[in-house]
């Protein structure tokens, strides 16, 4: 689960990690009031959407307006907020349609001496959480990793004991922080690492992490996401979920217990198992087609799930044909075949459907489909299925 910057900063503040004074606003006039109450000569108005790259991104409706803007008066703040709110911000991560801005964060300015990068993830290579810092703050960290990996420093830390002080000092020294900043740096890093573990985060990213002219470390931006599998023990985080930021069909699929990812092609896929689902997409591509989605119905697909899956697939206007690829293991092919027929009839199919069944009771399953008289194209193996569905999609 991803959350907004203003929500992440609330969590940081509560954990004792330094952030600037700020107010979240959903109207332009609120933004003006926030500027006044912050009381400084400057403030920054920041669009609140889940996608990154907001500073460089621009609005669809106002191509000159970026998603993050320095303002010097309440009037400025009102003007910027007015353009941002309700408009669609297009960044490298949103796709061409952009994401609608519903809230802005108005934050106090600060005197910046240096911009750094800080990130925490669970590194599967070492099976442990890892704190990463870099002197190349504000840049895309992927780019830094690819071009100048020597500028990234890492420390794996113990889940329960947290980051040791010497580890924080090592990183601070690698970043060439002045002695005067050492205490601030150690505290900042240790508290953030503790927060990462306490909240079951999958990512914490502070980019940029700034060193102020007085030597303090402050989180100028904050990105946090959480391990979905651990949300059961963080009931308080669930109120941070913003469904408006998520792909509607993916939300709907999630509610039905389906794992779904929307893609740009025209061949809908319904598969059991994530590995086989990915492989089915690859197979379609290999035979010249383009998958419209990834959809895993899981191990025990029933009639309701298959019906919902079909409805989700067909709600995408790009879909020209659908491929069902099921390897029946514990699930019998006869059960799947009956579920398919029932779902097919209740949904009102308007594109060709290719079905490939294999596994337990496969012959009986195929027979059910053939004898139903329903217009389903059956395939004998993977390659046959791919060829037929690519041909059907035209």
């Amino acid at each position: 689960m991803k959350i907004h910057e203003f929500q992440a900063k609330k969590l940081l503040r509560a954990a004792g990690v330094a952030v600037l004074e700020n107010q979240v606003c959903s109207t332009a006039s609120e933004a003006g009031g926030a500027f006044k109450s912050l009381g400084g000569a400057v403030a920054v108005v920041k669009a609140q959407i889940h996608a990154g790259g907001r500073g460089k991104g621009t609005l669809k409706e106002h191509p000159d307006q970026h998603g993050v803007q320095l303002v010097r008066s309440a009037e400025d703040a009102i003007g910027v907020a007015d353009r941002l709110l309700g408009s669609h911000l297009v960044t490298l991560q949103t796709g061409a349609a952009g994401q609608q801005v519903r809230q802005v964060l108005v934050e106090a300015g600060c005197a910046i001496a240096r911009e750094l990068y800080l990130g925490i993830v669970v590194d599967r290579g070492v099976s442990s959480p890892v704190l990463m810092v870099s002197s190349a703050g504000g840049m895309e960290i992927e780019k830094v990793a690819a071009e100048t990996p020597e500028l990234i420093f890492k420390e794996a830390f113990d889940r329960d004991a947290g980051l040791d002080a010497y580890q924080a000092r090592k990183l601070a020294t690698a970043l060439e922080l002045p002695v005067a900043s050492m205490r601030s740096a150690v505290q900042f890093m240790q508290r953030l690492c503790r927060l990462f573990v306490e909240q079951d985060c999958s990512l914490v990213e502070i980019n940029p992490l700034v060193v102020t002219e007085t030597g303090e470390l402050v989180a100028l931006d904050a990105k946090m996401s959480f391990d979905d599998n651990a949300l059961f023990r963080h009931k308080d985080l669930q109120e941070f979920r913003d469904l408006a930021e998520e792909e509607p069909t993916e939300v709907r699929a999630g509610e039905a217990g389906l794992s779904f990812v929307k893609l740009d092609g025209n061949i809908g896929c319904l598969v059991n198992g994530a590995g086989l689902a990915m492989s089915t997409m690859d197979l379609i591509k290999l035979h010249g087609g383009e998958p419209a989605n990834f959809l895993d119905v899981g191990g025990g697909a029933n009639v309701e799930q298959v019906t919902e899956a079909f409805q989700i697939l067909l709600s995408d206007d790009n879909v020209r044909a659908v491929l069902v690829n099921i390897f029946g293991g514990i699930m019998r092919c006869t059960t799947i075949a009956s579920a398919l027929l029932e779902a097919y009839q209740s949904v009102g199919f308007n594109v060709p459907l290719v079905v490939r069944l294999e596994g337990t009771e496969v012959n009986e399953g195929r027979k059910i489909l053939e004898e139903s008289g329903v217009d389903i194209i059956t395939a004998n193996d993977l390659t046959d299925a791919a060829k037929k569905v690519v041909a059907a999609a035209g």
């Binding site: 992927e142 889940r159 794992s259 990812v261 598969v271 990915m278 390897f327 293991g329 514990i330 294999e358």
Partner: protein, 291 residues
């Protein structure tokens, strides 16, 4: 021979009184696996599918001499169940449960490494040595006793490969599903070494997927330590970056873990990589012919 499990395996099921635990205990019994004990705290003294249930794993070990376990307890309690099994001295721990928090596995992983136990999973189909012992949820009948060791990060894709190997008459020595999570107990590398030492295994098929660097590490080990023919398939060649494809581990992040990188690493280690999932079995044949 074969690896990890065989005729001598005496199996415990943790979470046997749950729906999935009972169903798959029956499946394993039907296949011929010696399931000799179950465990659910507070339900000791009951019987499920003719198997006695104990309150603790330690009890089950003492009373029945189990040496392997399969875990079906719900995700919030899976880490605890794994730790209990290791503490009781069980040598092969197979965690089927899906949805275990990653930070739980960070702790479990450390404990497993510090013990003599092997952990397979979580979020995996299990382990099977055909015609001897099935531990997990895979359909037994698609397997044939044979010469190919199978290692995979996924479930149904493994069934697909097993089916192809059985139809080609190659069969399998042992098949292991590693699990689709970011942190799992056993890696490709661990199993490649076991299959290398196993007399019954003549070739190895490994099925990876996007995300992480486990396949690249496996390629390096194959190049230096494995002289048996190895074939591979990587799922997710067409997956876009930043989108999680069902498995928590299957995500391309920070430009790392792409299929292209993995295929290149595998091929440079002399591994035959199947381009299509329809050709996993024939890729093994080609690897064996080249050797």
């Amino acid at each position: 021979m074969s690896i990890l499990v065989g005729k001598e395996t005496r199996l415990l099921c943790q979470g046997i009184t749950g729906q999935a635990g009972e169903f798959h205990t029956r499946g394993c019994l039907d296949y011929g696996t010696q399931v000799v004990a179950g465990c659910t705290p507070g339900k000791g003294g009951q019987e499920v599918a003719g198997v006695p249930v104990f309150d603790t794993v330690a009890d089950a070990v003492k009373q029945t001499g189990v040496n392997a376990t399969m875990i079906f307890v719900p995700a919030p309690f899976t880490a605890d169940a794994i730790l209990e099994a290791i503490d009781a001295g069980i040598s092969v721990v197979v965690a089927i449960t899906e949805g275990v928090p990653v930070l739980d596995m960070v702790r479990v992983f450390e404990k497993v490494r510090a013990s003599d136990a092997v952990l397979i999973g979580p979020n995996c189909p299990g382990v099977i040595t055909p015609e001897e012992c099935k531990i997990g949820i895979m359909p037994g009948y698609i397997h044939r006793k044979g010469k190919v060791g199978v290692i995979s990060r996924s479930g149904t894709l493994t069934y697909e490969a097993v089916w192809q190997l059985s139809n080609l008459g190659l069969g399998q020595s042992t098949c292991v599903g590693l699990g689709g999570d970011p942190i799992v107990g056993t890696s490709f590398v661990d199993l490649l070494r076991l299959f290398q030492q196993d007399d019954e295994t003549e070739a190895i098929l490994m099925m990876g997927e996007i995300g992480g660097t486990a396949e690249e590490e496996a390629a390096a080990v194959v190049a230096e330590q494995i002289d048996k023919p190895v074939a591979a398939f990587i799922a997710g060649r067409t997956a876009p970056p930043g989108k999680r494809m069902g498995h928590a581990g299957a995500i391309i992040s920070g430009g790392k873990g792409t299929a292209t990188e993995k295929v290149a690493a595998l091929e440079s280690a002399g591994i035959v990589v199947a381009e299509s999932p329809a050709d996993m079995g024939t890729a093994v044949q080609r690897a064996m012919q080249q050797a």
